[in-house]
Subunit: 328 residues, 2 copies
């Protein structure tokens, strides 16, 4: 295994310190914690907290900033943060208007964030949870009951962060979050596996020309392996499957093409070009686009495609509003 | 070779269209050209143009925007754009105040940008060139006389773009550019080679635990191969070598840790953490930081470290000023 690290035991600490040290104008690490938090949290607003296992950088700390998250809780690699770590984040950011937790749908994360919610309520915090389960590739999975939460989570960060900045209450945010999650659908394709530092070898093995559809961001099994095909055909499969999953085909969508970590932007742009052509052929108008590495899986090669139904114009405005984060 | 592409002959076209299609609010592709240009170029200002071979995305088109570049010229993979393509960019962006070309120091790029400068002067454009040669690893190289131009180029985009926005003349920009290039020093480390699509196999081969110091962004040979060491020791080697290369050790610096394409942000943050500690130990104050994939080499694994002497406070302000680009 070739990785730019020191001792395995120090990976998360050093990563957090490097990140906080690089962007000290925006974020800080809460002392002796696994929490990265915004420097100047606006008063009289609901605070947003997300988090999960490490290895998905820039998620989630890269999305801390006014109009997005107030804090991110950082677990070990591909491992949920613990309830006390999440509680530290809630204590840090609550401005008296309550805290919304945005959680990707993995069994461990759900358990720990719910436990933190219970504990925090004993501390007089008002806390709600929005669960993101945008990955429509497979039902249930290695670490998940139901669908997995993947790249679409960053759209929830942005939309709810914008609403919170505009004064939405905790219950309004919870309702908007649940409604919006249902509009977001993602499928990934892996070309190569990630190597978790503590494991030291790739999490799965693909043949020299083989790809796998529907792989999760921790390397969870997808729904089909086959020989790699041209970008156009990959795009066709993903666009068709995602559009078919909507009860009613959307007339306007946002498109997020997300790199898994080791896939050059060149390929992501080529894939996006194919997606945009296919959506035009389908008569679906694209009113928001984003392409790059936002929800990665360490050094996994591959991409995911996320569509969000943007029939509601307010969502477009929320996605386009200005923020000053590290990574949006 | 597993890549998300269609026909090899269409890679650049499709990449440019995907990029322009994703960010149509900011940039457009000049018809039938290899030029991506800013949508609303401010009048009465010198325009900045950069470019070079593809494969370094988000460089250079990701840095188009008010306060940075006005246009980027896109060559084939790892191949200079041709003079007529560069001339198209100059024609597109010149607002009557002249055009500054920012060129990485590779023989092919220098030849073609200089040729374009000559041709454009016949068209009554006033054009100057700033050559960036920040890679201090080796003198001369496979495609370079002198030192190579690498990740430090994005700092030049930012500093000169800010100066142009503030009304600097073409000759002032040329002078500021030449002075600033001399303050920027970079060394890279490769953990694995990139695969150029047209070639179909990695450009060089490293042993299972081997790394190479000083590799260029096209896979040009570096100065030493050895077994991978902890991040702290890699950082020590790069920081020491770069500081020693300054005639007078700077008291204040900016730090750019740049991912080569396939290296997770986690590792980049850990490396940055080590660099920041080493600079503190050296008594060097860090007044600007940036970490991420800015000047890549397709799917090369590795990083580069860039330092810029920021003794001049104006440079800090220029680096920190607000811009709205795709990738800064």
């Amino acid at each position: 295994m070739k990785k730019i690290i020191n001792n395995l035991a120090d990976i998360i600490d050093e990563m957090m310190n490097g990140l906080a040290g690089s962007y000290a104008d925006k974020i800080h690490r809460v002392d002796d914690s696994r929490v990265l938090a915004q420097n100047d949290i606006a008063e009289k607003r609901v605070a947003l907290v997300s988090g999960g296992g490490s290895g998905h950088e820039p998620a989630h700390a890269g999305f801390i900033g006014d109009g997005m998250l107030s804090a991110a809780v950082v677990g070990d690699v591909f491992t949920s943060p613990t309830p006390d770590q999440i509680l530290t984040a809630i204590d840090e950011v609550d401005q008296g208007e309550g805290v919304l937790l945005i959680v990707k749908n993995y069994t461990g994360d759900i358990l720990n964030f719910e436990m933190a919610q219970e504990m925090s309520e004993m501390n007089d915090h008002e806390v709600a949870i929005v669960v993101v389960d945008d990955d429509i590739s497979v039902e249930n999975s290695e670490f998940t009951a139901g669908k997995r939460g993947v790249a679409g989570t960053i759209l929830i960060h942005k939309i709810l962060g914008d609403a919170a900045r505009n004064g939405a209450s905790l219950s309004e945010l919870k309702e908007l979050g649940d409604q919006t999650v249902a509009k977001i659908k993602t499928i990934g394709v892996a070309l190569g596996a990630a190597t978790v530092p503590e494991v030291g070898k790739p999490g799965f093995k693909l043949g020299e020309e083989e790809i796998e559809f529907g792989v999760g961001i921790h390397g969870e099994a997808g729904y089909r392996r086959e020989k790699i095909r041209p970008s156009k055909e990959l795009a066709q499969e993903l666009v068709t499957k995602i559009l078919a999953d909507y009860a009613k085909k959307p007339t306007k969508v946002g498109v997020l093409v997300n790199g898994m970590g080791a896939t050059p932007l060149m390929e992501q742009y080529i894939f996006m070009n194919d997606v945009l052509h296919l959506l035009a052929d389908e008569g679906v108008e694209v009113t928001f686009t984003k392409v790059g590495d936002y929800m990665t899986s360490l050094d996994m090669a591959g991409i995911s495609l996320t569509l969000i139904d943007l029939g509601d114009e307010n969502l477009v405005a929320a996605l386009q509003s200005e923020v000053s984060t590290i990574a949006w």
